[in-house]
Symmetry: C2
Subunit: 472 residues, 2 copies
Amino acid sequence: MALLAKAAKSTTPNVTSNFTARRLASTSTPQTQLSGLKINSKRLWKTLHETCEWGAAHRYGDNPTDTGMARLTLTDADATVRGWLSDQVQNLGCILHIDQMGNMFARQKGRLNSPVPMTAMGSHLDTQPRGGRYDGILGIMAALEVLKTMKENGYQTEFDVGLINWTNEEGARFPKSMASSGVWAGQIPLQEAWNLRDIHNPDITLKSELERHGYLGDIACSHDPQSGGYPLGAHFELHIEQGPILLESQRSIGVVQGSQAYRWLSFTVTGRDAHTGTTPLSARRDPLLAASRMIAASNEIAQRHGALASTGIFKIPSNASTNTIASELTFTLDLRHPNDSIVDTVQAECLESFSKIASQDGKGVSFTWQIDTDSKAVRFDEDCINAVRTVAHGLVGPDKYMDITSGAGHDSVYTSRRCPTTMIFVPCRDGVSHHPEEYCSPEDCAIGTQALLEAVVCYDKLRIKQKSDEGR
Amino acid sequence: MALLAKAAKSTTPNVTSNFTARRLASTSTPQTQLSGLKINSKRLWKTLHETCEWGAAHRYGDNPTDTGMARLTLTDADATVRGWLSDQVQNLGCILHIDQMGNMFARQKGRLNSPVPMTAMGSHLDTQPRGGRYDGILGIMAALEVLKTMKENGYQTEFDVGLINWTNEEGARFPKSMASSGVWAGQIPLQEAWNLRDIHNPDITLKSELERHGYLGDIACSHDPQSGGYPLGAHFELHIEQGPILLESQRSIGVVQGSQAYRWLSFTVTGRDAHTGTTPLSARRDPLLAASRMIAASNEIAQRHGALASTGIFKIPSNASTNTIASELTFTLDLRHPNDSIVDTVQAECLESFSKIASQDGKGVSFTWQIDTDSKAVRFDEDCINAVRTVAHGLVGPDKYMDITSGAGHDSVYTSRRCPTTMIFVPCRDGVSHHPEEYCSPEDCAIGTQALLEAVVCYDKLRIKQKSDEGR
């Protein structure tokens, strides 16, 4: 904690750079330009699972690592792994900064001793309450392994490189996903994020937990150096795919193009409670029947447009009984597509269809709806994407990587608004995540980590090329 | 309580009669043969609402009677109204017997001083937790009003007549509907009923509450006089329809033909939890989508057969979230039709359809099912039905009554297995019951009560005719 307090007090790299706003030269044909460095896959695997002892939960098998994780943000287990990470990066010679949201920035100086923002490798150490050992954790452990590999090989990038642990990515304890990268990107007000309450204990706020663990840093949580924030030169994130596409396509690396648009709606359908035995179908106002038809219809509409429509929550009154028609219920609808306008179209068609369904059976039902979350499609940075594509080509050959769009939200979606960003996906077993049995093989963890290293090196070279182009 | 203890100790009318097993002459054309007696509708209304002060709850309007009821069986409020009823019937000169299930049998001697079982008017004083003022209560208050009207007019039936308050009809506190008429009819074991536990406090059993309130009578709860039980000559029950059919047909009296068959099934649909953003539709095993299609399909199948299919309970795991496909859910299906074989057909078609649906989307889901309750269709006694039809014709004319089948379960369904039984339905507002706003107008309460009186008198005359036929 003393260490952290010291880190939190160190000065911000308070420099301005418009570097990130400019476009670097794009490489359309991947060329094999690997670093010659090789990450230590055994050390990576060992480190990942050793640190997963802090927060291990939900055992599902006999092997020591056959557990999931319950390392919610800013719990004691999270504080322990944060403390461990602080020691690790400082032992490597990194400078560690903590901002007002507890985001941890570990910075390794580059050869140029340049003051411009670092090329970052970021992800998160927090998990879902029934989460796995790879979502977020792999990204941090990979970044640490990259720094270790560079250090032990005496390799120095031109510009500074570093590691970031973003606070409360999962939003599982304090209910806002990617809260701290959101504040950093200027998309979520700091006070709002600080005031997020523990979902089980409203007396605890995110800020009070930052204070308790000594992670309320004094650097502004901002991308803007003018505000005392911590700007980034680029942001690369290695992550498990959380879906089955790579696995089913037999690819090792996903070159992430961006993040699809998603919109969360919630519906309240109102009818009238009635006895199931004494009320003819023609006299009913049955919200459960109507909602069932609506959910089936939303699926058909989404399929027609190649989009996703999903209902995750379906809630009827707790006094429900077999022989009573419920009076009211709520359900959610999660619409997704890489194209914003398709999401608009699917929503419009769903609403039109739901209106018809509402008057279809018996005496009809009424419904209200609202948009709870609306996240536009994001396109990642072409230079970053090209860097990943180039190294993937070199590492696994043309048949083992593919372009892919992220279905889930990530801190990279927020960083992409403020610095060149992309992600690297690796396959996970059965496409399962947010589940104790989430799994990524040692081989895939290693390939992803090597790709992360190579992408950072490749991008570093692009930056130096850009710098020399500027010099002409 | 002293009174009750005394009543419980009085001797059982331990007579055997095979009267109930024989068919009385049936009247196919209703003939107007009214008694000349007239119930006091103001007294009926006043008594009903005064006694509803014990257990009144869920105010919905400004009038003193604008509340529902929460008078669960064998609560203090129920004990109070039982005590009041004991006083009332004994003041009228009735003999009160209490059986082992707390069923209250009040018996008025007939002119013949015959030992054969009485013609009973039965229903229940207990309510749902969010119940109304008429379901069950009207049946008891009407029976009491009939006894009062006879008494003050010096009218004596030939055979004994009486009133029954059945314990725990609703099954809302001790979870088995019509538990005590079920024991009486030999359909539910006494021990099983005694051991029913309060749904909110498992330390309390139905038997312990019977003991606490002094309602554990020493008469066997049985229809069989050989076992020391309390046989009945007939059972008439006045009840609100609990549906909209009489109202929409503009009828005042429903001549109840019997009770439709109903079968309660529960389904567990299993898929796999998955991220809504990262899992293509083709890779999903989505139980919520499948269950929605199943519910819509069950409705279509039921409609095709003129049956009822209803889902009252739909339960997904409590950790559901907008962006996660649930792994498993359960839902109920309540199938009803007056014909047992149609219920079989609807069930078979539902299961066939559900199997198809289970493999329809993505990678499919699996499901299991079970039958929770299976209640066969019941046809009430022709003589009793004819008695009601005759008096309905005389009271309201041919356009204001109709044959109807009960959609709900009633104590009469159990008594019909052991004695000639039928019911009289009166309309209730919007067909609503099991709801605080359940309402039956003073006029309809009065017509129903007059019909109950006339039906009992009419049936009493049929009994004497049968007796004289036997004498020939």
